[in-house]
């Protein structure tokens, strides 16, 4: 069978194919999100034993909440630095993984190790490494002990290092998947033309890799913006909230203070920031696809 009403049939099958995904997303994910949004419009604090609709009050308070802005600043800084470093490390790593050399299997398996260690544990592992008295890092560094987790300038960077260690493999895998899609013949042709390695990287690899890079950037920055575990275990946002990110603030408000209304508002605000971020990436991604 072919031709004729096949377009109609194709569309029907398309709907069937996406149906399970749509149902699950709507059923399991959409409801909790809407529930949280709804909650954010309430004053709902456990100890006051009250729950009443207050419209956008929580959001009005949020705009004037200095702690929110400082958390937003910390989050933005964390995301920017962590994702940049991860990308800069992941591209060479992926190029390496894509080449044939003895021991490649070992490297491939081992890059996944940091990522395979449960996050709760890896954050603890690093807390241990950062321990000022007997952690591995201060043992190896010469000079006086650095107060990694207790000094304002260091703590956030310590958390960034943990994130880089943990998620660079993820980025590298996505980039690697992108590299797989580039045909070998392009390079062959370039080599015939006498192009240098760097030249080939600049004019073939990088442009063709752009969609994969943007995809990795998209997912990593969405994740980094919601960073929680590493910071929670290392510092709980201290000292003096200098490492407090939006997720940590939201967590403390929801789960420690029992302020469900404002905590939900903080979560929604985080969500909105991420939406803006995603919109920027998607635009770039869309432009890229359009150009192809």
């Amino acid at each position: 069978m072919s031709g004729g009403g096949s377009l109609e049939r194709e569309r029907r099958q398309a709907y069937l194919l996406v149906a399970p995904a749509v149902v699950v997303l709507a059923g399991v994910a959409l409801y909790p999100i809407l529930a949280a949004v709804w909650l954010s419009l309430h004053r709902f604090i456990l100890v006051f034993g009250e729950r009443r609709f207050t419209g956008l009050d929580n959001y009005a308070f949020l705009l004037s909440d200095a702690r929110f802005w400082s958390a937003l600043g910390n989050t933005a800084y964390f995301t920017l630095v962590a994702v940049t470093v991860e990308l800069l490390l992941a591209v060479p790593l992926a190029l390496l993984l894509n080449r044939a050399f003895p021991g490649r299997g070992l490297l491939r398996a081992s890059v996944l190790v940091p990522w395979a260690i449960p996050t709760v544990v890896s954050a603890r592992l690093w807390a241990w490494m950062f321990n000022p008295e007997y952690g591995l890092i201060n043992r190896m560094l010469p000079g006086s002990d650095i107060n990694w987790l207790g000094a304002p300038g260091y703590a956030l960077h310590a958390a960034i290092l943990v994130d880089v260690w943990k998620t660079t493999p993820f980025v590298a895998l996505l980039v690697l998947a992108g590299l797989q899609g580039i045909g070998e013949d392009l390079y062959k042709a370039a080599r015939v033309d006498g192009a240098s390695n760097w030249r080939m990287f600049r004019s073939i690899t990088l442009p063709l890799l752009k969609p994969a890079l943007l995809l990795a950037l998209l997912f990593r920055s969405l994740d980094a913006f919601r960073v929680f575990d590493a910071i929670y275990v290392l510092t709980e946002g201290g000292p003096a909230n200098t490492t407090e990110t939006l997720s940590i603030y939201a967590y403390k408000t929801l789960m420690r203070s029992g302020d469900f209304g404002y905590g939900s508002a903080l979560s929604v605000a985080t969500f909105l920031c991420v939406v803006v971020l995603a919109a920027v990436w998607l635009r770039l991604l869309g432009r890229e696809e359009g150009a192809r």
Binding site: A14, A29, F101, S110, R124, L125, L215, V274
Partner: protein, 269 residues
């Protein structure tokens, strides 16, 4: 196979040190007698921590639970994700952009705010405190990444392949199953690993939704090791080494697939 240059060798060593260094430190910690952790070097090594993790607690059971949940999640996610991604990449229908962005939006919400409502849903449908009930939200929250990665993977496969299959008399679904899905194996393998590890690591939902001790997953079990103030470092390290091994094995098994390349000549653009 070319002989690797010095640069390659250096880069490999640097990456290995960075990624494995802390892990080896952890392995060393797990063998280090607890009382001597503050000293520069241990006086001797001991496997006490492993003994107490593996025999003192039902840890293997816990690892099995985690494997099961992660496998279920990966199964759910790839089944739903591959079908939808194929449709998104190769078929014509309305609402594609909407679906992709809605999926993305789901992955943008801070998980902590979704715990309470999800708890209510799972309780209502009777799936609380079950491994399936855990795999379901995992699969949902891993679905966006799956959709995006696989869609871009399917897009890279030439349209001619799909058309040729259709001309040969395949339905769209058959074209997907018999022609495109096999070609997407590297993408599937990559995604499978991403999803599997996500499910393996998840802590927040697992802590809240599971209550029976027999159903605990690895991260929750490890969080139970610490007493109120005391942290048994050796045991935590040993447990995480034990918990990391299955994943390393899995990766080694899958790695040929991850980088098997987009198959032979016929498919080249």
């Amino acid at each position: 196979m070319k002989r690797p240059g010095l640069g390659t060798a250096l880069a490999v060593v640097a990456f290995l040190t960075f990624f494995l260094g802390p892990f080896f430190w952890q392995v060393l910690t797990s063998l280090w007698p607890d009382g001597e952790l503050t000293r520069p070097w241990p006086s001797h090594l001991t496997v006490d921590s492993y003994v107490s993790v593996l025999w003192g607690r039902p840890f293997l059971r816990v690892v099995a639970n985690s494997l099961l949940v992660a496998a279920l999640t990966t199964g759910f996610c790839l089944t739903m994700g591959a079908a939808a991604a194929f449709a998104l990449a190769k078929l014509e229908f309305r609402g594609k952009g909407l679906l992709l962005s809605a999926a993305l939006a789901v992955s943008m919400f801070p998980p902590i705010a979704t715990v309470s409502p999800l708890y209510l849903i799972l309780r209502a449908v009777g799936l609380r405190d079950s491994l399936i009930g855990l795999a379901l939200p995992y699969a949902t929250f891993a679905l966006p990444l799956t959709l995006w990665v696989l869609t871009s993977f399917f897009r890279q496969l030439p349209d001619e392949l799909y058309r040729a299959a259709r001309v040969d008399g395949c339905t769209p679904f058959q074209a997907f199953r018999r022609v495109l899905l096999p070609l997407a194996a590297p993408g599937l393998a990559t995604t499978a690993i991403l999803v599997f590890i996500f499910a393996w690591n998840e802590f927040l939902y697992a802590l809240t939704f599971l209550s029976t001790p027999e159903k605990r997953t690895v991260p929750v079990a490890i969080s139970l090791f610490a007493s109120e103030y005391r942290e048994p470092w050796g045991e935590i390290a040993a447990a995480s080494v034990v918990a990391t091994l299955p994943l390393v094995v899995l990766t080694v098994l899958f790695q040929r697939r991850i980088v098997s390349g987009l198959t032979a000549g016929a498919v080249k653009e």
